[in-house]
């Protein structure tokens, strides 16, 4: 008698085998290549990508740290650019999200499209556009020309994170705060900020990861300067010690992985924010 109910129940719970295999194969396709990067950081073969590696060694980590001074200046430059671009994006992206989430006005759709444009259009367009503008204005390449480009697409990341949270922000809490006598700044400080804080932190971290890793726009705005991704690109085109490139790649994987996981954790927590359920 329960066979019918069971059949329906199992149909809901279990997935078709073919679908499961396709999904898992797809996920493996996404992850195995990165595992290979780590493996090749330990190979003894430095001229080719021979598989399986003829032997294993940890010496390349030492070589990268002590014998390759060319790695450090690009690393510092990348960290500096990412930090400044992220700070600028945090301010501008949050302002944009606050404005666009609180009011409906003529042209709002167009403006929100405008903020997404830097990532909707190919990065090369941002790059060559900035390059053209520098050329016309006679601007020399500097750290700031790189930051200019990075801040522009980092705004989008912060904006996306912030606007999602602003939309979930309960109007009741803000009204209650006003009713209890708080002025607008107090309401922002004690009611709004605690609720959007984690979304901003998440957006900031993703923006940092994005900027730290950016190469497409940067090659157009950097001139002769070298950020870590540009250093890596030149190593890919003209390899010197291939495993050292892998060591740096492993480092980059972890530097970007931490903000991603943290951002995930922060926005996941955010779903339980007070007043989120409307």
């Amino acid at each position: 008698m329960s066979s019918d109910a069971k059949a329906v129940g199992s149909k809901k719970a279990g997935s078709p085998l073919g679908l499961r295999i396709a999904a898992i194969t797809g996920l493996l396709f996404l992850h195995l290549p990165l595992a290979l990067i780590i493996l090749y950081a330990f190979t003894t073969e430095e001229r080719s990508f021979q598989f399986p590696p003829p032997g294993y060694t940890t010496k390349w980590f030492g070589v990268a740290w002590y014998e390759r001074p060319d790695i450090w200046p690009p690393l510092y430059l990348s960290l500096k650019v990412a930090a400044i671009a992220t700070l600028m994006a945090l301010v501008l992206g949050t302002l944009a999200a606050a404005a666009l989430s609180r009011a409906k006005f003529f042209g709002r759709e167009t403006i929100s499209l405008l903020f997404i444009l830097p990532i909707a259009l190919p990065g090369i367009i941002t790059g060559i556009s900035l390059r053209s503008a520098f050329d016309i204005m006679g601007l020399d390449f500097s750290v700031w020309t790189i930051i200019l480009g990075h801040a522009t697409f980092c705004i989008v990341v912060v904006y996306n994170n912030a606007i999602a949270r602003f939309r979930r922000l309960s109007g009741n809490l803000i009204e209650a705060s006003m009713d209890l006598g708080a002025d607008g700044f107090q309401t922002f400080r004690y009611v709004i900020l605690p609720q959007i804080g984690s979304a901003l932190l998440a957006g900031g971290m993703l923006a940092f990861a994005l900027s730290f890793d950016e190469v497409i726009v940067t090659t157009f705005t950097a001139g002769q300067q070298s950020t870590l991704p540009i250093w890596m690109l030149s190593e890919l085109i003209r390899p010197r010690q291939r495993p050292v490139t892998n060591v740096v790649a492993v480092f980059v994987i972890f530097v970007t992985l931490i903000p991603i996981l943290a951002a995930y954790y922060l926005t996941r927590e955010g779903e339980h924010t007070g007043g989120a359920s409307k």
């Binding site: 679908l19 301010v91 367009i125 006003m178 607008g184």
Partner: protein, 313 residues
Amino acid sequence: MTTATLERPRTSLLTALSDTFFRQPKLLTLLLLLPPLLWIGVVYVGSLFALLLQSFYSLDDFSGLVNHQFTLSTYAQLFEEANLQIILRTVLMAALVTLASAIIAFPIAYYAARYARGWTKALFYLAVMMPLWSSYLVKVYAWKLILAKEGILTWMAEGLHLKWLLDGILALPVIGGPSLSFSYIGTFLVFVYVWIPYMILPTQAALERVPSNYLEAAADLGADPRQTFNTVIFPLALPGIIAGSIFTFSLTLGDYIIPQIVGNSRLMIGQAVYTLQGTAGNIPLAAAFAVVPMAIMGVYLWMAKRMGAFDVL
């Protein structure tokens, strides 16, 4: 007594400002919006205009300097045989990459949206987000390792006694080459790999919005799974797929690093832009080339908006 608290005079400047904003919400919106709008307007849109302006200049062939006079001759150069081929090749590649991404992404998105619950849901989400955000160059580099002649794919083919198949594929005209890392197949694979998370996420978002009682209703009305898929699930997922395709298509159109590292020597639009602005110093032609993906994406976005793809983003 109660009125006394209500009529408490507000003297502080901040409070006065706050009151003004409360009475004039539009003023606050404007003030909030102004800095980011100025930034995007001046830096980004301003640069786009600079790009357009440059594309109407031309390069003087004799002096090698940019001639700052309005002309359409630079655009005319785009229609030369070699340049036209670059454009067609890139658009074809972008279309194929988009199609393949949609096909591979769908089962992942479908499983994550309909069957994954609790910790598997979180796992699926992270499994897609991590490759999406991890370093672009590292991902490309990983494929250089995989596709190299002495690399893991060749090793696997030998182990499985399928070397003949690999050699056969490489011997194919046009898409083959000396090794996978110097062929269109290689370029195609890397593009699909690098952009596929951009396809999975919006597809999954669209699928999650399909109410499960629609599927029950379809089943009750006698539709078999295939019919349910064709008439209910797929049409509702389509805006998500189109939203994803905006990214896969646009990113492939403009990329110049992947075909440079994994691919043959035939240029794509991005590479043309890059070489022209760099060593050649021909910024006008580089700009004209860059206008091509812009125009294509303009049309694409307009069509996507009409099909409701922006609601999923």
